[in-house]
């Protein structure tokens, strides 16, 4: 075995090896290859990151700079949009129509936290059963939980809306938490199951020989050993709730809007408050960007419900 990284051996033509552009002298071939890589990398980075840069810039512009054509790259930054967003202060012609954004932010935190806590508490025993017991209906129950990840939300939300109107859950945090756990429950069950299955069976068997009951195995063996996994599940579940838009759009009112629905309120029939909307998108995206740094390694696993490690 050579010490070269895996892929250099696989795809990249090496010195002295046949390559697709054999007609050129060696140094020029390398030069071309490197140039192509740099161009591709630049395109990929600009495509991925530039929208964030531009929106951050827009959020720091005053209203005249925002609508200037051609767009301005050099301008005098102002915190006016953020001030208007959080305090509703009137500075330099900023509209004060949306001083309720802090409330939306708090709503997002309350609803997402509530839904994640609820579904993780219900998922821990369920995931334990799916990971460590064999019983009839096991596969079909597991599949049913999984399939709710794919159901079109409107099939639930329209009847849920009518139901909520009737029982008084419409436009309440409790109602939204109950609706949001429809998003998180399938995810938390499958994620926790995949983490619980990673706990070596030998440890569990040793505990059983020492006289541990199923409660002991869960609380003294599985839970402590999968704490990192539970933390990842909680964070990712929180992030999925934070992203939710469809459920609150139909089940929440002005008092319970989360940031996602709050951010589109800057578009009205007669005008769009671009600056404040940009500031709102930055504020809504920021917790997600910070949290995703913490769980980087697990995001793909989370998005595929444990299918891809």
């Amino acid at each position: 075995m050579t010490s070269l990284p895996l892929l250099q051996r696989r795809y990249a033509p090496q010195r002295g090896q046949r390559s697709t552009i054999t007609a050129l002298p060696l140094s020029r071939r390398h030069y071309l290859r490197n140039a192509a890589i740099v161009v591709a990398a630049v395109i990929l980075i600009v495509w991925t990151v530039f929208p964030f840069v531009w929106i951050l810039m827009t959020s720091l512009k005053n209203s005249a700079d925002i609508i200037s054509a051609p767009p301005k790259f050099i301008f005098r930054p102002t915190m006016g949009n953020y001030a208007a967003l959080f305090f509703g202060t009137h500075r330099g012609g900023y509209s004060t129509t949306r001083p309720d954004f802090p409330l939306f932010f708090v709503n997002s935190v309350i609803i997402s936290t509530g839904a994640v806590v609820l579904s993780v508490l219900a998922s821990i025993p369920a995931a334990y059963a799916l990971a460590r017991f064999s019983f009839p209906l096991k596969n079909s129950l597991g599949f049913i939980f999984m399939s709710f990840r794919f159901v079109p939300f409107l099939a639930f939300v329209i009847p849920l809306y009518l139901l909520y109107q009737r029982v008084g859950l419409y436009n309440t945090h409790v109602g939204l938490i109950l609706a949001y756990q429809l998003i998180t429950l399938p995810f938390t069950i499958w994620m926790l199951r995949s983490f619980f299955m990673e706990v070596p069976l030998e440890i569990q068997e040793a505990a059983q020989i020492d006289g541990c009951s199923w409660v002991g195995i869960l609380t003294r063996v599985i839970l402590p050993l999968s704490m990192p996994g539970i933390a990842v599940t909680v964070i990712l579940g929180f992030m999925f709730c934070w992203n939710a838009f469809n459920y609150p759009l139909m089940l929440a009112g002005r008092e319970t809007f989360p940031v996602t629905v709050g951010a589109i309120q800057f578009i009205s029939y007669d005008q769009v408050l671009w600056g404040q909307m940009a500031a709102a998108t930055i504020v809504s995206a920021l917790p997600q960007l910070l949290l995703s740094l913490m769980v980087q390694k697990y995001i793909v696993r989370g998005l595929t419900m444990g299918a891809v490690r």
């Binding site: 696989r10 929208p51 508490l121 998922s123 369920a126 939300f153 009518l162 109950l178 951010a263 998005l303």
Partner: protein, 301 residues
Amino acid sequence: MHTTAVRRRPRRRRFLPYLLLAPALILLVGMVYPFSLGLYYSLTDYWLQFPSRFRFIWLDNYIRLFNTPLFGRALEFTTGYTLVAVTIQVGLGLAVALFLHAHIPGRKVMRALMLMPLMIPPVIAALMWKIMMDSTGAGILNYALSFVGVGPVNWLGYPRGAMISVLVIDTWGNLPFISLVLLGGLQALPNEPYEAARVDGAGPAAMLRYITLPLLLPFIILAVTFRVMDSLRIFDLIYATTAGGPDDATTNLSIMSYRYAFQWYQMGTGVAEAIVLLAMVVASSYVLLRLWHRTAESAAQ
């Protein structure tokens, strides 16, 4: 996989798993109940403004839908969009995954950066692009395109442009998902076939065609499955950018169902349309998941 469990009390053990599943099953009822209610409503003439008209009408909502010209267009847009978007996104995603898997300086940084569009709320991504796609002259996208000779585009203002805009924003947000899933697959591939191929003198293109792609197929199908489901149901992005317009060009089944229920208050027809969409999702997930199982099995051999 063999699962062991508590062995001492066989009788209690038989019920224990169901007991453990009970809390989750109770929450599941919270999904099943509104869903069955919706199934019932889809067979009724439920107008929110005219509760007195409520009556059971069998399949009239579905028949009415299939006779509505807009429904045909929405059905066409839903399926057409899914096919085009998934093809383009998986193709590009594969290219990006192969690129990031190659030995390139700074690929860890690029991998981390790709999480940014992926993890922000889709509706926020839509609003960010809406700002950039502004067509009054202040929009940065048109400004950038003017340097490569593309005239000002009224992105969200005409049917074809709106479709392309939705596709671009959707691709921006979801390309990282496909790339990262396929990258995960590439990193899990065994080494031996490549060594054997190298001994046989195979070039990089042949290795890609005859080794990498067949072995990666289960991951590709998994990514396709997730993307097909989400593209069929796509709602928030369209709602925030075009709201189904202009001229209903970007109205898919979700948007139309939403409008039936929350603009025209025809709850029965709205749910019926959501259930048509559900049938499409179930059918395609059935096919794709079977395909996935088959390829995952044959790749394991």
